[in-house]
Point group: C2
Chain length 459, copies 2
């Protein structure tokens, strides 16, 4: 038995040496993807994070549990240093489940699924009832003017445009009504606002998300309504303008809470002072379990370290995994990381983020000067066997965006298939059962591969 | 009101004329994808086919219902001719739900999920019990030889290799144990065979599929076992070789049944004698509803006609939609279509098939001479905005394969993301709830676009 073990060890060490000597990057990428597709832990980690901790809104007990969970996982994965970076985060709580009802001209009431937008103030304790007026966009709101808006509830019913292939483009267009809608409505005297959920799905789930109150205007309560609910409300209003809406929410903005970014490093063997950041965000909305948004990015990032350790490879440059806190309602974690990075004058050569769901990847977004894009694009042929072909997108990520602003660091965003993302985004449907193991692992393989190449060659 | 209508009609006809005059193919493709993403019927059609007819194995009443359903849908979509083509198909029936049990050395029994492979003979009425031996491949079976195999049940436990990015490669490797395994086992005297389900999922669903009995060997009953069941059986055998397996199946091969291919045409305006075939297969296995395999290909093909009619475009060459019968266990429909095509000397310039599930498309497989591939590849840039980039695969489709054999017709296969296909393939999980509307529609858009280009320019 002991003899057999010696033989195994001999062959193992031989194999590792052989791989070390291999200068062919295509073989290196093959090793990375094969290791992850065969032995990747992302899927079981994400099951644990999603089902045993679940939704982890900034400031919540679950967010604090997720910080500790990530610290442990980074150590298990083999990081040689793991530490926490203090971040003060907003603490908004949803309170009791929200209630929403359409009251038609005859007084008939229909319950519809709503949820408070993140950051919204509460309605009066007993709820709020008022006539509801529907607009498609801000131009229509302006045309109605204060005369027709004052004292009412404004319903922004701007559907996603299905013609976009990339669903993020539809989100970009419609999202402004969630973000700016409440204050725009308040500007004309509205007392509440409702926004159609940000999704192409036709279903009964309201999708939350952050909104922004202008400092100079009254803060009015605002909620999202499911797409089925939005269509029903629209139909009832079309039949008779004298339609009212009732909603009741007791959400609250509490005092800021001390939370953390979680950071784990593999120190570079040749140029440890050159740092490659890879990460996602650890917080999520409270409506679902945050499996796609962005538990996926977290486990994929930890997988980078596990994989390099499993392959026995020592990166030339330092790889730093960052689980950012508070992307959803403040990006305080991204801001804090950037602030510390700028102050310390550390040399960040690139930052990579995965925050578009654990779907099958097909590209790398490059948010960097043209001459650096050319360097990354030289690696395109290495990625083709893994169906990674698109290097034309320009988005990095919300958290690492602050690092670029502060230090000029080149950014890379993992580009994934977007068709199913908004089915679950910020909704109760963002749960682990919506994750496909192989799609998640292919994302981890792509993250690990680009980090590996950057650690070998710099940028 | 009447005046308003005239104005609308004026603008509509103006718009149609403008599009007709438009020589820019990129605008044509934009129109096709936009029409389908906005108004496509594939999703609601597939819901109807999957949930109201369901699984439709060749020779079943459901298959006959699906023929009539498709005939009606082709007419509704606007085909100018719809007709049925007679095909005699095999008629295998599963009978009662199969029973499978592992009996360990101590006599302890554990029920495991199994299902008969398509075409299998039944076990004796009261079931069959024998020692079960596990092999990974045919080489191991050969090494065991008749001495160790005779009178036993052979368990082919060849897992999918997770390292392939394209899961069809793993299917290609493992599938031989389903297709040839039973007769290979019989060659050494086995009395039954079990095959690990053809999937990367770790779950409790057995996956059926066709198998082939060699004429010269005894026909032994054969079933698939779920992957969880396969692992359990393997573990129990490893602990003690004296493990037995019991299974009971009363499936039957009945007399052939007269069935049909369903054909719908849009006749070409300039070269009607030049035909472009586009299709999928109408039959499915009986375990699920056949939503992905291949209801998706059927509705996407009908969508081609609906879309061209909705846009008011008349194809220059004839577009012929074919819903092939009996792909799953005989491809009699594909054979019959090819036989008639060859005999009639019709000029088929290309045939396109969608039969890899209703997942997001990313390429077109080209099974044709190099000089014709070059023509199709000139259109690559037109497809890029829709994330269709891979023109390197060479597979057309099982049904249209016979047409190429008979007439040399160039073949095109819709290439789609394969990560989730074998989660549902031939299993109870192939149901409509696993379909994403937009992924399905993007496939229809891609099919329509390539058919449109072929109808304009030939090949």
């Amino acid at each position: 038995m002991r003899k057999a073990l010696s033989i195994v060890l001999f062959y193992c060490s031989f194999a590792v040496t052989a791989v070390f000597a291999q200068t062919d990057d295509s073989i290196a990428l093959r090793s990375i993807y094969s290791e992850i597709l065969s032995n990747g832990k992302s899927y079981s980690w994400l099951e644990d994070l999603s089902n045993n901790i679940g939704g982890r809104l900034s400031g919540s007990p679950e967010a604090a549990m997720a910080v500790e969970w990530t610290r442990k996982k980074l150590l298990e994965a083999g990081a040689d240093t793991v530490y926490l970076q203090e971040v003060w985060v907003p603490h908004w709580v949803r309170g009791e489940k929200e209630k929403g009802k359409i009251i038609d001209a005859q007084g008939f009431e229909q319950v519809v699924p709503i949820c408070a937008l993140g950051g919204s103030v509460a309605t009066p304790k007993q709820g709020m009832t008022a006539q509801v007026i529907e607009v498609n966009d801000f131009k229509q709101l302006e045309q109605l003017g204060e005369a027709q808006v004052r004292g009412k509830i404004v319903f922004f019913n701007h559907p996603f445009d299905p013609k976009y292939v990339n669903t993020f483009n539809a989100y970009g267009e419609a999202g402004t009504y969630r973000w700016r809608g409440p204050s725009m409505a308040a500007k004309y005297g509205a007392i509440g606002s409702i926004v159609r959920s940000m999704t192409l799905s036709q279903d009964d789930y309201p999708h939350t998300g952050s909104m922004h109150y202008a400092d100079t205007l009254p803060k009015i309560p605002c909620c999202a309504i499911s797409t089925n609910g939005a269509d029903l409300l629209s139909n009832i209003i079309r039949a008779n303008k004298d339609t009212r809406f009732f909603f009741q929410m007791n959400c609250q903005n509490l005092d800021s809470v001390l939370s953390h970014n979680v950071i784990g490093e593999l120190r570079g063997s040749e140029k440890p002072q050159e740092i490659i950041v890879a990460g996602g965000h650890l917080d999520s909305w409270d409506t679902g379990d945050g499996a796609h948004d962005d538990g996926a990015g977290i486990v994929q990032s930890i997988e980078i370290i596990r994989t390099l350790k499993a392959l026995g490879w020592k990166p030339k440059r330092t790889i730093r995994i960052v689980a950012f806190m508070n992307e959803e309602n403040g990006t305080k974690g991204g801001r804090k990381y950037a602030e510390v990075a700028a102050a310390s004058q550390e040399k960040h050569i690139a930052a990579i983020e995965s925050d578009a769901g654990g779907f099958v990847p097909f590209g790398l977004g490059l948010q960097m000067p043209e001459e650096k894009k050319k360097i990354v694009r030289q690696w395109e042929p290495l990625f083709r066997p893994y169906n990674i072909w698109n290097f034309d997108e320009e988005h990095g990520g919300a958290d690492i965006g602050h690092l670029q602003n502060a230090t000029g660091t080149p950014l890379i965003g993992l580009v994934v298939e977007s068709q199913r993302y908004f089915d679950v985004h910020h909704a109760a449907t963002d749960t682990f059962d919506r994750i496909n193991k192989r799609e998640l692992l292919l994302g981890a393989g792509t993250m690990t591969s680009i980090v590996y190449l950057l650690s070998q060659y710099g940028l």
